[in-house]
Amino acid sequence: MKALLHQFKASFRGLLRTPSFTLVALLTLALAIGANTAVFSVIKVVFLRPLPFAEPNRLVALYTSDLEKRLPGIRYIPASVPHYLDWKARQQSFSSMAASRPGAVTLTGQGDPERFSSMEVTGDWGSTLGLRAPLGRLIGPQDERDSPVTVLSHGFWKRRFGGDARIIGRSIVLNGQSTTVVGILPANVALKTLRGEADLLTPLVFTPAEIQGSRGIARMDVVARLKPNVNLAQARQSLEGIGRQLQADYPQTQGLGVDAVPLWEFHYGEQRPLLAMLLLAGTLILAIACANVANLMLSRATIRQRETALRRALGGSRLQSLAPFLADALIISLVGACLGLWLASLGSDLLRPLVPAELLSAYRLDLGVLAFSFAVSVLAALICGLAPAFLFTHRALSSQLQEGAKGTGHRPWIRSSLVSLQVALALALSVGFGAIWSSLQKLQRAPIGFSTERALTFPLRLNPRKHPVPDQRERIVQGIVEELSGLSGVQSAGTINLRPIVDNVPFGRSFSLPGREQLSATASLRMVSPRYFETMNIKVLKGRNFTFADYGPNPTSVVINKSLADLFWPGEDPIGKQFNHNWMDGTGGQMTIVGVVANVRLQGPAITANLETIYWPMYHFADAAATNVIVRTTGKPMALVSAVREILRRVDPDLPIPQMRTLEDHLESAMAGTRTQATLLGMMAAIALLLSGSGIFGVMAFSVAQRSREIGIRMALGGSPQRVARDITRQGMLLAALGLGVGILASVLLGRFLASLLYEVSPTDPFIIAVAVMVLGSVSLLASLVPARRAARLDPNQALRNE
């Protein structure tokens, strides 16, 4: 024990005597462990939250499958009420099945009316997921019949009611109805809906009209738990049979089947490419760091070759002669890990803005990632420190004692290869970052089809109980829009049921041409007010805009967009043409085209496919009391907020005051994901640059130190300091060039991981690769120049004398 302690003391002194080695090794480990831990902690909380349910791997999501690909771009079609009930009645594979659908409630009687998103759930929703309420109970089967109840999300309970446990059993007023709070959801359960996270649960009670109603109106998410003896493949096979039966029983649903995916896949599947990219980037960082540490330890072991031989010559065992290397590796690893933890903690504060507000409570440094990064780095340090030392112990002592001082017997190609590998990996990361950053730039300039400047927008949700007649609601909305249009500083105002980019909900209808029924397609459907196009600055390309005359109980005029016109009437004037629109259950009617407008990217700035859109002259969807208002202003949009509030209060004091934001804000939010990707990848690329730069520096500095005798000889033979510096720099740049060559190949190969995340940018864009090569080349040059300058300043007399 005493000997061990002595060895650690000696190693510690030795490390202090070689500050460059110690600093670079510590910095490498600290950066790798710190950055990886901080970045993966963000990835975990944002993208990899485990499903907080019992046996989550047995949970599946059921969805309507689009067998005839009539709705391209929509991955999972929700279920209609009759379909859900049939699936539930006919299935044999699941121990339970439940449904939910997004909703919204207005909370009154607690100050100003407020609107909250809710989730309606069937009575077996909680038991299917295996959830228990930490306080009170969940929605149960009895709630589908009894008086109104609600369960609050943990966040909403804390936020709105200060976490007061006495709320259980109390009544609150939701949508004008007294509703009893019966429970609180666990803190780690997020109510994920298409509209974001819901604040509370209410019972989902099907009306007779819904049960008997359209199989085309599909808004429900269905979740089921596999029976213990049934696997997913068997369940899917069984569901396929049920789908066929239903198509036979209900011919109007031809082309609509039923399928299932694991619940995790349903929620996070689309983020798989992003996760793959970030995981790959993290792995590359770790690999670069390991290569760096390996190189440093190899160099140190080579330098100490003679010392090892001497220890053995003095009677030390092989293990004893390895002790200094082990001690060095352990000291470096442990101190590096501590610094890494400190850096990770700093990094996690820096990365906090990347975490969505609702996830901040769950955001913390991930100890698993920390332990993994630490273990890999330490292992690299130990293996690379001990392996050469172990090999030296197998060589003849006499030759080592003679050669050791001159450093012969080392393996420079291993170190050179490691440096080139680092440069290659850093280039791949830099190209990835360049592509994502370039994609973000292009997204910001993407032709989305409407103008976001000086536009205020907010949702308008009328209470259907207070205003049960659709015509009455239409008049109220029309009145609000008229009043807003009259405000000073307002250019125009309009409404739409689902705002482009903001309300990212698939909502469409299939249609066909009279007499040419074989020609059918699906288009997004949007209900707009008369001045909507003008307010959004959407160009009318042909025909006309809607006029007030188009608005009535059964409108027949429609405006279509350019994509739809090009698809069905290429080279023709579609104005005056008619088409049949159909719900998925076959109901529908005939419409006449009065105008063609420019394309608008409804689902997001990057979504350029399936843009076909039909605009109907309605203030809101007839069955729903929901619409969204857009106000184009002449000045700052947010300056109008109080005036808008005033109008809403005057029209209906019970109307919840909505959150108002600018369209620019919404567009920024839509690009937040790409921005986060760019930031994370940018940080990783910067770290990779730093590490590979330090790698080149380390190897070249070591090389200069090892070759001081050779440099002395060269100078004695007439090599000028400049010439010596040039030779050293060229040597460093050769390693970099080799790495850059391999890196370009690696970038091309790894580009496929990025392709699906990019907008109008190729992952192998020559310009991006060229810039990355230039940046990395400059870093390599800088890293080579410092040792080269040191070589040039070497005193040849001294260098030769030392030998």
């Binding site: 000889i713 060269r714 004695a716 007439g718 300091p721 010439r723 030769l800």
Partner: protein
């Protein structure tokens, strides 16, 4: 009378470490004529190698005058010193100092590379000198594949390649056995007979006999000068 190739006057070299001054060379006066073979002898630490380093422009004197080939060496820039070393001086070291990663041929042509000589001319010249020292058949070998004597022959060839004004040899036989040592000395004698100027540091009295003149150093001073079989006391 022609000017000497090397002229040293009142040369001093003082090393200072931790405030302790060590006088390595004290008031050294020395002329070396063209075509002369001078050996410098003396006990270990007497300043032989320091003197040779100054003569080879690897080190600078603390004071005094050093004129090489009619040009004063004082105040030369590093770049100019490198150029003069390349063109005027050929070094032969005790430990051969061949570069291990380069072949025999590449080692020999290195001074010519630094001179910027075209590749073809370099090749011819390098092979000529390798022929001269009897090592042309080993041109593609690495130094580690040669014996000590062979390595020193290659080092001599390298020193000769640039056709320098003077060869500076620092204990050229110090790392060799007697037969190899003698062979290298025969080589140097042959070169001298063909007109080369040589300045050799050695403490082996067997080899000082080959020189025209032997200078004895003690504590940094020239204490005696011995011309072939004749001693003068200054």
């Amino acid at each position: 009378m022609s000017h000497p190739l090397i002229h040293l006057e009142s040369l001093k070299k003082v090393f200072t470490t931790d405030e302790i001054e060590t006088h390595a060379l004290v008031e050294v006066h020395l002329d070396i004529q063209r075509g002369e073979f001078v050996s410098i002898a003396g006990p270990s630490g007497c300043g032989k190698s320091t003197l040779l380093s100054i003569l080879g422009l690897l080190d600078t004197p603390t004071s005094g005058t050093y004129i090489l080939n009619d040009a004063p060496a004082a105040g030369l820039k590093l770049k100019d010193r490198a150029r003069i070393r390349n063109r005027e001086i050929g070094f032969i070291f005790q430990s051969f100092n061949l570069i291990g990663d380069l072949t025999v041929f590449e080692n020999v042509e290195l001074p010519l590379v630094y001179r910027g000589m075209p590749a073809k001319e370099r090749r011819t010249r390098s092979m000529e000198v390798l022929e001269e020292v009897g090592m042309s058949h080993r041109a593609k070998h690495l130094p580690s594949q040669l014996s000590g004597g062979q390595q020193q022959r290659v080092a001599v060839a390298r020193a000769l390649a640039g056709r320098p004004s003077i060869l500076l040899a620092d204990e050229p036989t110090g790392n060799l056995d007697s037969s190899n040592g003698e062979a290298v000395m025969e080589l140097l004698k042959g070169l001298h007979q063909r007109g080369s100027t040589i300045c050799m540091v050695t403490h082996d009295t067997r080899f000082t006999k080959a020189a025209d003149r032997t200078i004895h150093l003690f504590d940094g001073r020239i204490v005696s000068e011995e011309e072939a079989r004749k001693q003068h006391v200054p």
